[in-house]
Symmetry: D2
Subunit: 184 residues, 4 copies
């Protein structure tokens, strides 16, 4: 059976409406990151709502022919982004943040807020690699100190994508070569 | 934007290994049901593990070119069916049963066990329609009594698919015509 | 350290308002069952809302000096029963039903509805004993068939309490004597 | 009906064994904080495991006659602290961190790790006040920036308890006086 497509999580603040002018910096970055994720043949996973970074990343991915998965906090179809292909309705509220952390092979945080911080922390707790894109120096310092080997910082979308590529390659190498790692 | 593909959930006991001979009746039904779901252009959602009805339904869907979503109970990639395209790792144990109930537009139960019963009950609690396929008279009587309008019984795969088609049509009609229903 | 007090779960439909006349049969039973649970020195665990069986059981337990735990579906203090001492706000919606099933040593279902059915099924899935009190013949037949050794039926509160006592004694005997059971 | 006792959450790294010498600074602080919480008549809520800060805080509270609630990640009784009176078995893994954030009126973080960071972030996301006790300057700077009005820093147990007292008083004043706040 052919290998599954890797799932890349993109997290970020939800409050900024994507259609509001002037277009927010994080929304622009998320749009471009979504495009790049689709262009590389990866699946995009976000929080799935119709606002902010999650919406923008999904729109970007769809514009480049990608497939988008949304892990929604609510129990119904109220606030799903139009650009989500596969809405998973969890009804878990913020507890769904841990599903994002577990289901993505690599997490990219675009911008920073309490929800994004929770997702980054849960990913590090689950020993998942995280890339911070355009967050802030306080976040970079704090999370780097928490989990030095897992935390990566990118200054632009290209840098983030380079990190993701490297991390996926390392995971596949590890999966192929490192049977003993499974036993820990 | 084009409409999303409907998500059909297929639930059933996990214990029967799909490769064990003689091939179990529920596994055969799930294989055929998965094929039909893919052939109709619907997405298949299951519990995602590599055993029993969930595995068989995914194999059937893949054999017909479909896309399969697995809502896994565990936090890691331990027991994912090879036939799952999109594994969602919830780490929630049986609490993930409610995600299956919420995320599917229609749920089909193939066979019956405690986990399947939980998923059927949670779907009915969330006011989702359920089709029972090859369960047993006790299950049919019990669940029919719990939620008369939501519970449908099918004797074979063709009957189950006919129910699903009708229920999806009713939901789309309701979504298009029935704004006041949203306000309940 | 002294042994912990056993936690007894009482589940049942939430729709019947406890203050509505004529007083509903299940609410009366839940009130009396709550009293008995407190009188035996057990902790009471319910779904914690201010309606139906869960509210009545908590009121009964409080009237007899007991301690009550409520596992609430919502994220905030909106609809907590006044008779809950310890509200656990899960924000999980119906996924919290599985916490009830896991946290109680024995579950008693008083009456039957979709939510109660989910809790009974999840308890049986987790191999927890369940007592059905004043449900209906369809429920008794269905759940007995699902998990013969775990399902008990009581016709009145006294019978339910007798079952709970016996089941707790068996669990403690098993915990003390049965180390090999832990290894399954 | 008499008011419920406030629930104070104490979070912190789990890795340090409480019985290991030399006794860790965070474990000592958690022991003393647990004592103070019990002495003030508050309920203590922790992650409930038999290690690190959560275990120490529970032992402290029990030594002062308090009541302790543990919100366990696992589905069974495997690693519960002996000092937990009321174990809630969630089976949710790290998704249970959000229950801690929602159920406590105030959260105190003693030390810092990925799990503690997730709990602090989820509390801030839910608009709950948080006190950081003996974490580190990076954590203080980062979380203060995320939610300025909700984040408080204490240098010792006495300072943390003073913060908790003030925050509880403000919540009760707010609950009594501020109906319009509910509507946000």
């Amino acid at each position: 059976m052919a290998a599954r497509k890797p799932i890349i999580g993109v997290m970020g603040p939800g409050r900024t409406e994507v259609h509001t002018e002037p277009v927010d910096k994080h929304v622009e970055l998320a749009l471009e990151l979504g495009k790049q994720i689709a262009a590389h043949g990866w699946l995009l996973l976000t929080g799935g709502r119709n606002i902010g970074v999650m919406d923008a990343a999904c729109r970007g991915a769809k514009s480049a022919g990608g497939t988008t998965i949304g892990i929604l906090p609510g129990p119904d179809a109220m606030d799903i982004s139009d650009a989500v292909d596969i809405p998973i309705l969890t009804g878990l509220g913020s507890a769904r943040d841990n599903i994002n952390a577990l289901s993505a092979s690599v997490l990219v945080a675009v911008g920073m807020g309490p929800g994004t911080a929770a997702e980054v922390a849960l990913a590090l707790k689950a020993r998942k690699p995280v890339v911070l894109l355009a967050t802030n120096p306080e976040a970079e310092k704090f999370f780097s100190g928490l989990a030095p080997g897992l935390l990566h910082v990118a200054g632009d979308v290209e840098g983030a994508v380079t990190h993701v590529k490297g991390l996926l390659a390392a995971q596949q190498g590890g999966a192929a070569g490192g049977a003993e790692q499974q036993q820990q």
